[in-house]
């Protein structure tokens, strides 16, 4: 303290009272109540909602209508390669209107008749069951591997280059290997889905774990959380958004893979349906199947996204 300079000898400031005080000018009181807006009708919230919904959906509906018209006109010539939408409607009327042919619904479960003439929904249900199984496997294994390489630098160095290479292999390229390993159609199709969907799950989960903010790690250290507590209370909730990004990409890719797999393998499923319709020169059936595939893929994506948001909020 002695090193410090002595306090300068200027007089210590005096109490507030003696300081020259600024005069306070009272401000005219704000106009008490703001002008109240009168609303003529009480239906407005309902109307607002309907209007909002219309504004959200209308552009899409209009766009589809315009595209269908363009398609209709473009393919109306006699030598057009593709059928027009109206031809699709008339020629594939059976496929469109009776999708559940050969499917016995039993509560939530279903039974699909073996072989023969099965409706398009039957094929889709078969494909969905495969996707559900293969994707669940890739979700479990992918999250586990993602956490491993996200958490351990050694595992990351060992495995990441491998994953980066393998993830670029297209699903169809796995098919011969898959068939060689499993010999049968059903498990090889599931393996194909699994191997296609797993990479985005692994890599996104790993990125999520690696990006846990330093401050959360520090909180865990100060609280001396043990590894299990850290996993459950910090790592898992902090990684959930990344994880679901991976799962969402994964489900999209597995849906792509199933179609590819079934096209080659035959038997049942929506991929087989497309292949079959192509071989039978039923191009309109193929178009109906494409619409179904698109809608199902879109729905799957939305479902996983919705679950992700729910879980992230709960976590």
């Amino acid at each position: 303290m002695s090193l410090l300079r002595p306090v300068p000898s200027e007089p210590p400031p005096q109490g507030c009272d003696s300081l020259p005080q600024a005069e306070i000018i009272p401000y005219p009181r704000a106009q008490s109540a703001a002008v109240e807006q009168k609303r003529g009708f009480d239906l407005s919230p309902v109307i607002d909602r309907i209007r909002g919904l219309a504004l959200a959906v209308l552009p899409t509906v209009l766009m589809i209508a315009v595209l269908l018209m363009v398609w209709e006109i473009a393919c109306s010539g006699k030598e057009a390669a593709l059928p027009t939408p109206s031809e699709v409607w008339t020629e594939s009327y059976e496929v469109i209107m009776h999708p559940l042919k050969g499917v016995e619904m039993d509560g939530l479960g279903f039974k699909i008749q073996d072989g023969g003439d099965v409706g398009i929904a039957g094929h889709i249900l078969t494909s969905l069951a495969r996707v559900a199984f293969g994707f669940s496997l890739s979700a479990v294994v992918g999250v586990a591997l993602g956490i491993l390489i996200g958490q351990s630098k050694l595992a990351y160095r060992a495995l990441d280059p491998l994953f980066q290479i393998l993830r670029t292999v297209p699903p169809l390229a796995w098919l011969p290997i898959s068939l060689a390993i499993f010999q049968q159609a059903q498990p090889s199709a599931i393996f194909l889905i699994f191997i296609t969907a797993i990479w985005p799950v692994i890599l996104n989960t790993a990125a999520g774990v690696q990006n846990i903010p330093m401050t959360y790690r520090n909180v865990a250290k100060v609280l001396s959380l043990n590894p299990i507590e850290y996993f459950l209370k910090i790592m898992l909730p902090a990684t959930v958004p990344h994880m679901f990004t991976g799962l969402r990409i994964g489900i999209g890719m597995s849906w792509l893979a199933i179609v590819a797999a079934e096209m080659v393998q035959g038997g049942t499923g929506i991929g087989f349906f497309i292949w079959d319709s192509y071989n039978s020169s039923l191009l309109t059936d193929t178009i109906v199947a494409l619409v179904w595939i698109g809608l199902i893929g879109f729905t799957l994506d939305r479902i996983v996204g919705w679950i992700g948001r729910r879980v992230a909020r709960q976590a």
Partner: protein, 267 residues
Amino acid sequence: MKHRSYLALEGIGITFPTPKGPFTALRDVDLSIEKGEFVALIGHSGCGKSTLLNIVAGLTKPTRGVVFLDGEVVDQPGPDRAVIFQDHSLLPWLTVAENVRLAVDKVMAGKPRAERRDWVMHNLELVQMAHSAAKRPAELSGGMKQRVGIARAIAMSPRVLLMDEPFGALDALTRASLQDAVMAIQAQLNNTVVMITHDVDEAVLLADRVVMMTNGPAATIGEDLAVKLARPRNRIEMADTPDYNHARHEILHFLHQRFSNPTDKAA
């Protein structure tokens, strides 16, 4: 055996390896803090004061020297040295009460559920946040979040409370109200506190001692000033007392004349 203070830093130094060779951030830091003392560490940014706090917290290991707490060597983090982080670092997926609860469950493991719940609420009341117990951090203002951060730290009943620029991210008015809250809590609990700040007024208002750091690299303690102001302190009344101005002046002199901002010098 020589007498050791409650919290004693002895010969602390830290050197980081860098591509350009070793970089010494801190050297020869000796600091003795008695039980119940409120010490503010002040210095320009980059002087290693946060590193020093992390060393006491056990989050960073010093390359030289030892930290003793109540005679025991500190070498890893633990809830007995609770940290209030600058960015509050509440977990966004937990409610306010759950955030505090996470700490309470850790330090009061084995106590009955009801007792732990009451302790969470008691500490939230201390920081006047009991009304927001069920809210999530995203619903709170910056000042309120930091109040919860304080509640989480004091709920651990730490032997030393470490504050890393706790109000640095807040606006001046919010900061003042949090400083008042900290003073009120400190009057009740009489914790041993180490606070990092670069706000001269904050240091003088809150601390019993202001420890001034020299500029890095190889920063160390430059000056240790006792603030002899009676408690409870009132910011308005204090602003006009000679003792306050004296302390303030000494710190300003240290920071702006003897060890002025290194970036100014470089310019």
